[in-house]
């Protein structure tokens, strides 16, 4: 499925194409505007991302209409998206939903949904967490029961989901619900009867989240009944690697902004970057960004090329812990380096602060992620 050995040059070409696209389409002004709309993204830009850059199909295998690249290529795109704070269904649709479909191993479901996703026609969301926000199979209470007892594949879901990224706008919902066999994955039409989605107020306005209420909503089982726990773990591994790439991009942008300001802003008759208190802050940010980039890219590389048993899971978890911390720290220090101006609504620094904190708290937050990381190391 993976195009192994995508060359350095090809990846840099991809990066340049995405960056110039985003410079044109996801300027700070565009981000602010999109974040104020109900949809929280610009559908026209999303359509162009599909047509011009084929981004929604990047990791979708060719047999389902995509280009079949791996996590490394996706990481390049997500680093750029994170840099630009791009508002788009990319994370929900590709990093979460498409990877869940692929992880389910259900060819029929893949054949039904992935071509639409790859073409940019279908947006999708993955609904896992409930009120606690945890990605823990034990905490899934949404129930699935068979619609009829005739053995057909119809199910009905009842319960509620929270923190569903792009859950209010997605056409396709992939929902984890509990059957008698355990947590399982289901596909639900976003417009199906019994589905209500309501936008949640969010710390980070550039990433929409919704609460879903499911009241006997018609659903189709995806993959094996009861295999949802394992699937959640697999999806979380690849999702945090994607998130880490986004975080690296955001942190890198904060570093660049701070360095630029430190070079040009003068106080006491000299550039503030000549003061070591500021200089060393920037150097500390650089160290963290370099390490974040290294561990995030290493996790993506191992996802594509393979490694020793358990190496991917441990590196993915490490990337999540490290990149969450590094981005948060870079976003905070960026405001500090900018002084008062950094604390204004008009300055972009707070947008990165919001994104950094909200990303750090996704998927259960630091303590859950610490435990997950240690568990992966067998501790």
């Amino acid at each position: 499925m993976t195009v192994v050995g995508t060359s350095h040059e090809e990846l840099e070409e991809l990066r340049a194409a995405v960056r110039s696209f985003l410079e044109a389409k996801s300027s700070e002004e565009a981000v602010r505007k999109a974040a104020e709309t109900e949809l929280r993204y610009d559908p026209q830009v999303w359509a162009q991302m599909a047509e011009q850059l084929r981004l929604p199909g990047l990791i979708v295998p060719e047999e389902y209409g995509g280009d079949g690249f791996g996590q490394v290529a996706l990481g390049v795109v997500l680093e750029e998206a994170g840099r630009a704070l791009l508002c788009s269904p990319l994370f929900a649709t590709v990093v979460l939903a498409a990877q869940a479909l692929l992880a389910s191993g259900d060819h029929e479901a893949c054949a039904r949904h992935l071509p639409g996703i790859a073409a940019g026609r279908t947006t999708a969301a993955l609904a896992v967490a409930e009120d606690s926000g945890a990605w823990d199979p034990v905490q899934i209470r949404t129930r699935a029961v068979r619609a009829q007892e005739d053995g057909s594949n119809g199910w009905e879901l009842t319960g509620s989901k929270s923190f569903v990224v792009d859950g209010a706008s997605a056409e396709l919902l992939l929902v984890i619900a509990r059957t008698t066999a355990g947590p399982s994955l289901f596909a639900v039409d976003g417009k199906a009867p019994g589905v209500t989605a309501e936008a949640m107020e969010t710390l980070d306005a550039t990433r929409a989240m919704a609460r879903l209420r499911l009241d006997a909503a018609p659903a189709t089982l995806v993959g094996t009944d009861g295999a949802g726990g394992r699937l959640m773990a697999r999806v979380l591994d690849s999702a945090v690697v994607g998130l880490a790439a986004e975080q690296v991009g955001g942190a890198g942008r904060c570093l660049d902004a701070s360095a630029e300001y430190a070079r040009t802003r003068t106080q006491f008759g000299r550039a503030i970057g000549t003061f070591q208190a500021v200089k060393h802050k920037c150097a500390d940010m650089l160290v963290q960004v370099e390490l974040a980039r290294a561990v995030a890219r290493e996790a993506a590389r191992i996802a594509d090329e393979g490694g020793e048993p358990g190496e991917f899971a441990a590196t993915a978890a490490a990337a999540h812990v490290y990149c969450s911390r590094a981005f948060m720290s870079a976003a905070m220090e960026n405001i500090q380096v900018h002084g008062g101006i950094g604390f204004t609504w008009e300055h972009p620094a707070h947008l990165y602060f919001r994104r950094a904190k909200s990303s750090q708290l996704m998927f259960g937050g630091p303590s859950a992620q610490h435990e997950r990381f240690l568990e992966r190391l067998g501790i």
Binding site: T274, R325, E371, L377, G378
Partner: protein
């Protein structure tokens, strides 16, 4: 390179290394099979052994280096005419990776300063006959080398060295004092930075020499460091006569020579991945320690452990990527400096984490295996933030060279050194 039959591909080279090591060394105890409470529990960066033990360890290091040299692994990247193997840094890394699986003497006493930093400096700047003689001697394990740079008044500001060198026909006469000189007490040779022209700006009046440490007037006095051991020294130079053909580089051009050494210093320090200290950072070992001390269930301890291991994993990823990029023929980026900073910081954090968890048993030795032993590493960690360029200096370099932040004002690179230093230098400082 692909058609050069002398250059084995990395896999073939690894096999060759393995054959050599199988014949000359024993495999190290299996790390996966690490058992708490078994074997040596030391986690030390410096030695704090009594002199006889240290001498024996130094001898073992030299013997192992000679074995390596005689089998073609003593200087893998060195030119063949000086006893090197003429291979690439990748082969060097392959060698290190394979050797890490064997139980061999620690060669740090020769390698960190001498082979890692002084060797490349001599290679780049010495006269032919010096290279012919000393390079093979160094890489054969005969001549340990030291770096005579720092002085009581020239540490971070290395270009302020005041040790004087005055020309007397075909020789130079050196007078002054060096300090913090690692392994000088084992060394046969050293590279010294001296002031030859106090009327030039400070970077422009320095000359570098290869000093034979057995020359009359060279006096090495051990300094005891806070760990209790004595790995570094003061070196007093009194009317030490050095032939002009032992000069490295041009007269007054020593700063260029110093830069060669410093560049290799950062790479060497950042690269010190292997050894007992690295093993101490392994997740298995840390987890075993927490289990044995009944602290593994403590939530606060687990959170700190996860943070520490994330730092370590990220550093490993950085090193692995640097290696891969080097292998692909790209030149190294800022990774080496970041790596050097993280090496010190990770060990510092680990030592404090572990000793905090141990509490009383890091304060006084209860006799329990693997507990008080950590105090030795703890006491070594302050040095890691100072040696080879302090953290502050490294951060200045990163901010200025990588991020392009402006230099500090007021650093005088134009006035004659004599004016910066005032009376002392005028009097010759000897």
């Amino acid at each position: 390179m692909a058609h050069d039959t002398d250059v084995p591909d990395p896999a073939a080279f690894a096999a060759e290394v393995r054959a050599f090591l199988d014949a000359h060394a024993r495999p190290a105890a299996d790390r996966a099979g690490f058992v708490w409470g078994e074997g040596d529990d030391r986690v030390a960066y410096f030695s704090s052994d009594p002199p006889e033990v240290e001498q024996a360890a130094t001898q073992a290091a030299r013997d192992w280096q000679r074995t390596r040299y005689e089998n073609g692994f003593g200087w893998i990247t060195g030119p063949k005419e000086y006893g090197g193997r003429g291979l690439t840094p990748v082969h060097d890394m392959v060698y290190d990776a394979v050797e890490a699986e064997y139980d061999v003497p620690d060669t740090g006493v020769l390698a960190v300063v001498g082979l890692g930093m002084i060797g490349p400096t001599i290679l780049a700047h010495a006269r032919q006959h010096i290279k012919d003689h000393w390079l093979p001697a160094m890489y054969r394990g005969d001549a340990i080398a030291c770096q005579l740079f720092s002085e009581p008044d020239a540490g971070s500001d290395l270009a302020s060295v005041q040790t004087r060198a005055v020309r007397d026909g075909d020789t130079w006469v050196l007078n002054g004092q060096k300090v913090w000189t690692s392994v000088a007490h084992h060394s046969r040779i050293g590279v010294a930075l001296t002031r030859t022209n106090p009327d030039a700006p400070k970077h422009k009046g320095i000359t570098a020499f290869l000093v034979d440490m057995t020359t009359p007037g060279v006096e090495v006095r051990p300094l005891r460091q806070m760990t209790g051991g004595a790995d570094f020294n003061e070196v007093f130079l009194t009317d030490v006569r050095v032939p002009d053909d032992h000069r490295l580089g041009e007269v007054d051009g020593g700063w260029t020579v110093a830069l060669t050494t410093l560049m290799n210093e950062r790479a060497t320090v950042g690269n010190e991945g292997a050894g007992p200290v690295a093993a101490a950072l392994s997740p298995e070992r840390l987890a075993a320690l927490l289990r044995a001390t009944w602290t593994l269930d403590d939530h606060a301890v687990r959170a700190r452990l996860a943070d520490l291991l994330a730092d370590i994993k990220a550093t490993e990823a950085l090193n692995a990527r640097a290696m891969r990029s080097l292998r692909a023929g790209h030149s190294p980026g800022p990774e080496m400096s970041v790596s050097k900073l993280m090496y010190g910081q990770n060990l510092t954090r680990a030592a404090h984490f572990v000793t905090d968890v141990l509490g009383p048993s890091a304060v006084a030795d209860t006799g329990q295996w693997g507990t008080y032993a950590w105090s030795e590493l703890l006491l070594a960690t302050p040095a890691l933030r100072i040696l080879g360029g302090t953290e502050e200096i490294m951060k200045n370099i990163l901010a200025e060279r990588v991020l392009g932040l402006p230099k500090e004002p007021g650093i005088d690179t134009k006035s004659p050194f004599r004016e910066l230093r005032g009376v002392r230098t005028k009097e010759g400082s000897a």
